[in-house]
């Protein structure tokens, strides 16, 4: 079964190493809170701010979780050191979702999916189903894999260590105007590909609504 989503707005950010223009000081005025943000949270907040929607329900995906904090915990235990409480509380996959909720005072539905290379496909599916209930939704995928042991694990030649995409969507009965071809993007994490293809097609769209059919 298919559910059609109209894409109302989008935002995209990427960097081979580390995104440096995330406007953290503007987006998060509380310095203490800002200092605690994970990389994925910073990217998600930037994207949300770019779209200008901190109140819609959110489906956020990340394939690898909070790798900096997770590895910090592993390294501490291996070294016989105590685990950092901040690293632990920031190590769960829903950390970006939590900071989005706190910064935006969003008290509604905010969830996190993590399906490795299927992550953005899953974000689109959950978003499509939830669009039957909510007026608009924000669908976000972020990946930040900039940690010291990334070379141990990076076996699919991911060149971009940070990438994030956000789509503001709503359910529609209009006919699809774009179809995903399952395109691969060299250097990008496969977890990003479907939403990256949507962004590519949105940039090619000259006028009229952008509608995509999501197979559930």
């Amino acid at each position: 079964m298919q559910i059609n989503l109209e894409i109302l707005s989008f935002a995209h950010v990427e960097d081979p190493e580390k995104c440096t223009t995330l406007n953290e000081k503007t987006v998060v005025s509380d310095m203490m809170l800002r200092r605690r943000l994970t990389r994925n949270a910073r990217i998600a907040l930037y994207l949300t701010d770019q779209i200008g929607d901190f109140s819609s329900p959110v489906v956020i995906g990340n394939a690898y979780g909070e790798v900096v904090e997770t590895f910090d915990i592993l390294r501490s235990i291996a070294a016989g050191e105590t685990v950092s409480p901040t690293a632990f509380q920031n190590s769960v996959h829903n950390t970006p979702a939590s900071y989005l909720s706190i910064v935006g005072q969003n008290k509604g539905y905010i969830t996190t999916v993590s399906d490795l290379y299927e992550t953005s496909a899953s974000v689109l599916k959950v978003g499509a189903v939830k669009s039957l209930k909510f007026e608009t939704l924000l669908l976000i995928v972020t990946d930040s894999i900039d940690f010291e042991r990334v070379s141990d694990l990076n076996r699919c030649d991911i060149a971009l260590k940070e990438c994030g995409i956000a789509l503001q969507v709503r359910h529609t009965t209009k006919k699809p105007t774009m179809r995903l071809s399952g395109k691969s993007y060299v250097g990008y994490s496969p977890s990003i590909w479907p939403m990256l293809e949507i962004v590519e097609k949105l940039r090619e769209t000259k006028s009229g609504p952008a509608v995509i059919a999501i197979e559930i």
């Binding site: 235990i77 409480p85 979702a97 005072q105 539905y109 399906d115 899953s122």
Partner: protein
């Protein structure tokens, strides 16, 4: 699109410290017998009480056994037409820990083996499910999966859904909770004035949901999901998020608060959760419903707890008995109705809570099915 189908919880297969199947787990709960045991090897130089599955083999083998067991109970469920929804906080993290602590490196393990997705992949490949999707929202993970399963079935997008809540005891989680100062070094005492934290635990719960009314099933009446927008580790002090989730679940189920017979509370045994959850329950439900936490017996199974406790709640409905609130002497909130022994009674509607790190809240209402 208006919801059309009713959603049933048809069968379940579970394992945790309290038992190797749901019948054993429920019996242990009815006896109010803590399954928490002292464990070494998780926090250096410290013996810490944890909810460890007795005689545990490989976690993923146990997972496969439980899916096999569920499919044996549901011959009508066709895997190739069924989606699997996983809720897990740590996924295959223990595999990464084993490699890293053993070899000091992650070069000999693939991300496929230890990601959250590893659970869905293992099950999907072995049993041939149509597709899979994984939620990781800390301790609400499998409740969020249940909420999504409810949507898929009620909107007639799927007829059958398998929900898996699964989390294994990892050194990362045990050390993390210990460093946050919320891991109890004694058996946990949910809702007691003397409570001082959680017992981290492991568990697997595999649930079959469908639009089919089968013998021995219960109805999933409605779900509510909210965010605190307050703090990463501390619940909203007035319980706004918790009350929002419970209120949404009531509205979705079309029920008044007075209809609820029994609340399976999140009841972690932390100072903050139990005080705030108690006050929230009192505000919404008064003193009528029985309120228990199963975590004194099972421990806190993290992302698995929503699915595990949905199965336990279903057992209460099917067997007309409510387990006691174990290890409770002096309640933090004397207004609430905490049973201190197993209580036989008609259980028509149960509300089951799960709250998590980051301020996520989920509530699910299950209901008895009466003969037409």
């Amino acid at each position: 699109m208006k919801s059309q189908n009713k959603v049933y919880l048809n069968a379940f297969s579970c394992v945790c410290a309290a038992g190797l199947n749901i019948e054993e787990i429920f019996e242990t709960l009815l006896r109010g017998e803590s399954a928490i045991t002292d464990q070494s090897g998780y926090v250096d130089g410290v013996i810490i009480p944890l909810g460890k599955i007795p005689g545990k083999q490989d976690f993923f083998e146990l997972l496969e056994e439980n899916v096999t067991s569920l499919l044996a109970k549901t011959p009508w469920l066709v895997p190739s037409e069924t989606i699997v929804l996983v809720g897990s906080s740590v996924g295959g993290m223990c595999r990464a820990e084993k490699k890293f602590f053993g070899e000091g490196s992650l070069t000999d393990i693939t991300v496929e083996e230890f990601s959250i997705r590893s659970i869905a992949d293992e099950v999907g490949q072995k049993f041939g499910f149509k597709s899979a999707l994984s939620f990781s929202t800390a301790c609400t993970s499998s409740s969020i999966a249940l909420d999504f399963a409810y949507d898929l079935i009620s909107h007639e997008l799927y007829k059958t859904v398998v929900v898996i809540g699964a989390d294994e005891l990892s050194r990362s989680a045990v050390n993390g909770f210990d460093r946050l100062g919320i891991a109890s070094h004694a058996p946990t005492r949910p809702f007691d004035v003397e409570r001082n934290g959680i017992n981290v635990a492991e568990g697997i719960a595999v649930l079959a949901l469908s639009s089919l009314k089968t013998p021995e099933c219960v109805e999933i009446m409605g779900c509510g999901v909210s965010s605190d927008a307050y703090n990463i580790t501390h619940p909203h002090p007035q319980g706004e998020g918790a009350m929002a989730a419970m209120s949404q679940a009531l509205a979705a189920a079309g029920l008044d608060a007075s209809s609820i017979d029994y609340i399976n509370a999140h009841g972690t045994g932390t100072v903050a959760n139990d005080e705030i959850e108690s006050a929230s329950i009192e505000k919404l439900f008064g003193s009528k419903p029985f309120v228990i936490s199963t975590k004194a017996v099972t421990g806190h199974t993290l992302g698995a707890c929503g699915a595990l406790e949905a199965a336990i709640s279903a057992m209460s409905i099917l067997n007309n008995v409510i387990p006691p609130c174990a290890n409770l002497s002096t309640p933090v909130n004397a207004t609430l109705n905490h049973p201190v022994e197993a209580t036989p009674c008609e259980v028509k509607y149960v509300l089951s809570n799960a709250f998590g790190f980051g301020g996520g809240n989920a509530a699910i209402i299950l209901g008895k099915i009466y003969a037409d």
